[in-house]
């Protein structure tokens, strides 16, 4: 679990929530979900002592209700979609606390490897089909004529 301390100084709610989206940008490549910009349900499981307040207001200019808000943001890595959880505590429209936690799925995948993967080889030598005896071969599905023709058309258009 990644735990990042952030923004000890009070900032306006709107700015903080924008910053939340920015965190996703900094942490990875392309943010794919915008939930982070949306204060939604108060986080009842938070350790914050503030009251949970009512649901955040839905328009930008209005005030936000005091309380603790949790949002999830995600960004794509080559391997997976990583998720971070951002908890923002609001009081009188001022952010008094921001906590970012992440649980990168890569760590889980290492756990998978120990439990559910029997072995790994960095190199596979391969054999020529003509040199071995097999009744048939399993690979990606052969494509149909329509698919192949369309690909050829695209290639020739790209070349012209």
């Amino acid at each position: 679990m990644i735990r990042t301390a952030l923004a000890s100084r009070p900032v306006r709610a709107g700015a903080a929530l924008t910053a939340v989206a920015g965190i996703a940008l900094l942490a990875g490549c392309a943010p794919t979900a915008s939930e982070a910009e949306e204060p939604t349900t108060p986080d009842t499981g938070s350790s914050s002592t503030s009251d949970t307040g009512s649901t955040g207001s839905d328009s930008g200019s209005g005030s936000y209700a005091d309380g603790t808000y949790t949002a999830e943001g995600s960004y794509a890595t080559p391997e997976s979609v990583e998720t971070i959880t951002v908890t923002v505590t609001l009081q009188d429209d001022i952010v008094t606390d921001v906590e970012v936690t992440g649980d990168p799925q890569k760590r889980e995948s290492e756990q998978y490897q120990s439990q559910f993967i029997g072995g790994i080889a960095d190199v596979v030598e391969g054999q020529d089909i003509d040199d071995i005896q097999v009744s048939r071969v399993a690979g990606s599905s052969l494509t149909s004529g329509g698919f192949n023709e369309a690909i050829e058309t695209i290639k020739s258009e790209a070349a012209s």
Partner: protein, 310 residues
């Protein structure tokens, strides 16, 4: 075993099929097989305008096709196991990248599939219903299901050895068959051999259903539903299971984190290759792989009874 096996080749559902039986199939059996394939295609193909899933694109409800529960239950398990990377409403994401009914291959940029698909799609009350417009794509496991249906029809009609090969997805009955695992980067080579008896061996790889993106990079058909983008780490997967739908489901799951765990829970053996050429396999995997000597972990692939390594 007296007569030579008789292959029957035909094109259907966008790929090449080969069915091998000990004796030539009577015309009535062939008609039944093609009829089953056509009926399945009419229900589940997003490539044809007259299919049930095309009719549902705008939302609505239809009487649930016969295979809806089996396939969508499996897809729900895959979605759960992969953290949402697998999603039966991925059709719109494939369309967005250009893998559409017209094979336009016009890349309009990635579109994530609806993450709340469980709320939009229902299939348990005798109806297949979509509460909002979306395109259902049952993916590889749909083809596996069809292979199982075809095999069942053939088994009823004819005793003896049977092979159903739907362009790389195989179900075999009768005598053991040695199946080569095609190298995803070189179709002239195989990375191993898997002997299969009374089971299905299915494969999924990124090398054939591929096309250029708007920027010239290569796109392919195995998408992460959460981003709508092609998977970049896994190049090919293989799985052996009692039925082809289960094997195909696992080949899809293995493109994502969570796949090996699901395979373990379902008792399915597998092999997969990453895009940087590494090969991984399940504990106790029965495949005979042509790997080098630098295997990272013990448990090297089986006892190599059929190894042809030199």
């Amino acid at each position: 075993m007296t007569a030579a096996p008789v292959p029957w080749r035909f094109d259907a559902i966008g790929t090449t099929w080969e069915i091998v039986t000990e004796r030539a199939l009577p015309a009535a059996v062939r008609d039944e097989v093609t009829g089953r394939i056509d009926a399945f295609d009419r229900e589940w193909s997003r490539f044809r305008a007259d299919s049930a899933v095309s009719a549902l694109r705008g939302g609505g409800a239809i009487p649930a096709p016969e295979d809806a529960a089996a396939m969508l239950d499996a897809l729900a398990a895959l979605s759960e196991a992969t953290g949402g990377a697998v999603n039966p409403l991925i059709g719109g994401s494939l369309d967005a990248l250009g893998y559409d009914a017209g094979y336009s291959f016009h890349d309009a940029g990635p579109v994530a599939a609806p993450g709340d698909w469980r709320e939009r799609l229902s299939w348990h009350d005798g109806h297949l219903a979509l509460s909002q417009p979306a395109t259902i794509d049952v993916g590889a496991l749909g083809k596996g299901r069809l292979v199982d249906l075809v095999l069942a029809a053939l088994q009823q009609a004819m005793p003896g050895d049977i092979t159903v090969d739907a362009g790389g997805d195989l179900a075999v009955r009768g005598r053991p068959q040695r199946i080569g695992l095609e190298h995803p980067f070189d179709p002239r080579r195989v990375i191993g051999v898997w002997e299969v008896t009374d089971a299905a061996l299915c494969a999924s790889a990124i090398n054939r259903r591929a096309w250029p993106s708007a920027t010239g990079a290569t796109l392919h058909h195995v998408l992460d539903a959460r981003t709508g983008q092609p998977v970049r780490t896994i190049a090919a997967t293989w799985a052996v299971a009692p039925d082809a739908m289960t094997a195909d489901a696992v080949t899809t799951a293995l493109f994502f984190d969570g796949g090996p765990r699901l395979a373990h829970e379902w008792g399915v053996q597998w092999v997969r290759m990453t895009t940087d050429g590494r090969v991984e396999w399940s504990p106790g995997c029965g495949a005979d792989l042509f790997v080098g000597t630098d295997v990272e972990r013990g448990n090297a692939p089986a006892s190599r009874p059929n190894s042809l390594e030199r």
